[in-house]
C-alpha cells in the first residue's frame, strides 16, 4: 500500500537527498506495517523521534510499535521543537 513519510527539521537529514527539499517521501509498504516498522530502519536517535503524527493525529510512544498504517496515511515526525 502507499503511504507518505514526512520528516521535518533536523530529521530531514534521514531522508534521501532528493526528498529533503519537500520533506516527504512516498513509500510502498506491506499490509500491517506499523509506525515503528517505518521508523526503525532509518536509525534516527530515539530521543529525536518526538512528535509522531498520522494524518495529523498524535501517536503516543507506547502505541508506535503496534499502530498499523493504512492506505494513503501520512506519517509525519518532528524532533522536540517549540515556537510561538
Amino acid at each position: 500500500m502507499n503511504v507518505t513519510l514526512k520528516l521535518y527539521a533536523t530529521l530531514s537529514d534521514y531522508l534521501p537527498v532528493e526528498a529533503r527539499r519537500t520533506n516527504q517521501l512516498p513509500m510502498q509498504v506491506g499490509d500491517g506495517t506499523t509506525v515503528m516498522d517505518v521508523i526503525s530502519p532509518l536509525q534516527m536517535p530515539a530521543k529525536l523521534v518526538h512528535l509522531v503524527l498520522i494524518n495529523g493525529h498524535f501517536v503516543p510512544p507506547a502505541a508506535r510499535a503496534t499502530r498499523a498504517l493504512a492506505e494513503g496515511d501520512v506519517l509525519a515526525i518532528w524532533p522536540p521543537i517549540a515556537g510561538g
Partner: protein, 614 residues
Amino acid sequence: MAWTRKFLRINLTTGTIKVEDLNMQWAQDYLGQRGLATKYFVEEVDPKIDPLSPDNKMIFTTGPLTGTMASTGGRYSVVTKGPLTGAIACSNSGGYFGAELKFAGWDMMIVEGKSPKPVYLSIEDDRVEIKDAAHLWGKTVWQTEETIKKLHQDPLIRVSSIGRAGENGVLYACIVNDLHRAAGRSGVGTVMGSKNLKAIAVRGTKGVGNIRDPKEFMKVTFEKKKVLADNAVTGQGLPTYGTQVLMNVINEIGALPTRNHRDVQFESASKISAEAMHEKRPDGKSHLVTNQACFGCTIACGRISKLDEKHFTVKNSPQYWGASGGLEYEAAWALGAANGVGDLEALQYVNMLCNEDGFDPISFGATVGAAMELYELGLLKKEEVGMDAPFGSTEALVKMGEMTARGEGFGKLLGLGSKRLCEKYGRPDLSMSVKGQEFPAYDSRGIQGMGLAYATSNRGACHLRGYTVASEVLGIPVKTDPLTTDGKPELVKAFQDATSVFDSSGVCVFTTFAWTLADLQPQLAAALEGDWSMDKLNLVGERIWNMERQFNNAAGFTAKDDNLPPRLTTEPAKTGPAKGLVNGLGKMLPEYYRVRGWDTEGRPTAETTQRLGL
C-alpha cells in the same frame, strides 16, 4: 534584592522628572515587571480613560532578574491601557534595552501626560533629560536609533522608539528596540505616539550588583542554564530552527488559520516554513543567515535573514538588502497563511516594514486577511483599496504594508485593525479578534484550549498569555488532546498563572519549554529578599491575573466579551484532524469561571479577592 528600589516618574506635560522609591511591599506582592507595573498602573489610572488621552500612563518596567546572570534575563515590558482593545495592555520585549535600563539604576519608569511637542528621553545613569525630537519626528525606527547613537556619539546606547506607525495612530503600533525586537501587541506604540514621545535612549554603567546571595545565585543560574542547554527544545530545536519550525506542525494538525480563518490548512505552508528558510534560493543563498540571542539568553531562537536582492519588493531598494530580524512564526503566519500569500521573500520584506516603522505584524497581517475577505465578498471595492486585493495577492499584501507604514490611502483604515474595518463594512463577524485584538497563529477549532485562552486573555486575543499549544500539540510539560475541551479550563488557568510569574521576573517565557516554576523559584529565592516559595509564586501569578481582570471589568468589559467570532463556534473546520469541529468555548467558559473563583458574569468573587489579597 535584585530590584534597584528606585524608579523614574516623568511627566511630559510639565516636563518634570522625579525619582521615587519603589514600594517594596508591592514588590513582595507582585514581584516586578508585568505584575508590579500593573499594580502601579491600576492604583494610578482610572480604567475608564481614553487610552490616547494624556490621562493614560505608560510604565516601562524591568523584572528583578533583568540584567542579571539568569538565562534570558533581559526582558522589559510596557504596561498601559491599550488603544486597540480598551483593555489593560502589557507588551514584553527582549533585546538589550531592558538590561540597560536596569544598569542605569532604574527598576521602571512611569511616563505621564503629553508633551506639547515631540521629545525623546535620554537616560545616562542618574542623568535623565527630556530632549527635543523635532528632528526625529517622521523618521523610522531604524533612522531614529541610528540618529540618536550618532548624536550621543555612543554606539552602545540602547534605544526604544516608535516609527511612523506610532506617530500616525496605527492602533497596533509597536515600540521597537535594538532594531527588531518589539513590545509588539495592543498598540503600546500608539500610546507613546499620542504623548509625542518618540524614543527613549538609555545608557547604564552601574550593572546589577544587588543580589541577595550572589554565591547561591551563581550556582543556581548555572544549573538552570544547563537545564536549558540539555533540553532538546531549548538546547537544539529553537536555536536551529527558531519559532518558524511550527509552520508545518500546525498545518499538519489542521490548526493553521488560513484566509481569515476560512480554512485551517494552507497549501503553501511548506514554502514559508523554517525548513524553507534553510533552503538555497535560485541566487544560491539561503534566506536564513544566522540565529541571534537577546541579552543573557542561552537559547538564541531569533532569526536573522537576508532577502533575495532581485525580488520585486526590494530590487530597487538596497536599504533592505542587509541582514535583518525575522521571520518568526507568528509574523510568517499573519503575513502569509492568514491572507493566503506563500511568497517567503515578500513576507520577510513586509516584516521588515513592520520593524522599520513599528507596527505589529500579527494584527496587521490579520487585518489584511479581513480586508481580502471583504474584497472577495464585494463589500470592499477596488477603488477604495486602490488595487485588486483577493486572497493570495502578494502585490496587495506588499502595497498594503507600505501604505500602512506611511499612513497613506487605504493604509489609514488598515491601521485601525480588523474590528473597526469590518464594522465599517457591516460585517463585524469577519474580524478574527477578541476584545478587538487579532488572533495569532493557532485555529482554536483544532486546538480547543487556545479558544478559551484567547477568549479570556486580559489583553485581547493572544498566545502569550496562556500557551496551551505547548501541552496540546508539543507535549510540554505533558501531552493533552487538542481536539477535546476536557480539562482545558484547568490547563488554561495553570498556563495563565504561571506565565504571569515568568512575565514578572525578567526572564523570557520561552524558558518554559524546559523550565517550570520550580526551576525559576530557586533563582528568584537566591536573588530576592522575602518569601519566594512555590506556594507564594503560585499565589502571585493568580493575583496578577485577577488584578488585570478587575481593571478590565472596571473599564467596562463583561462576560460577553469573553467570546470568539461566530466563525470559530459555528463553522466547522473543513479539513484535517479537526474536520467537522467548532470550538467548544460554551462548554469551557462556565467551568473556567468556576475554577477561577469568579461569578457567572466573570467577576472575581469576594472570597477570591480576599484570598488573593486584592
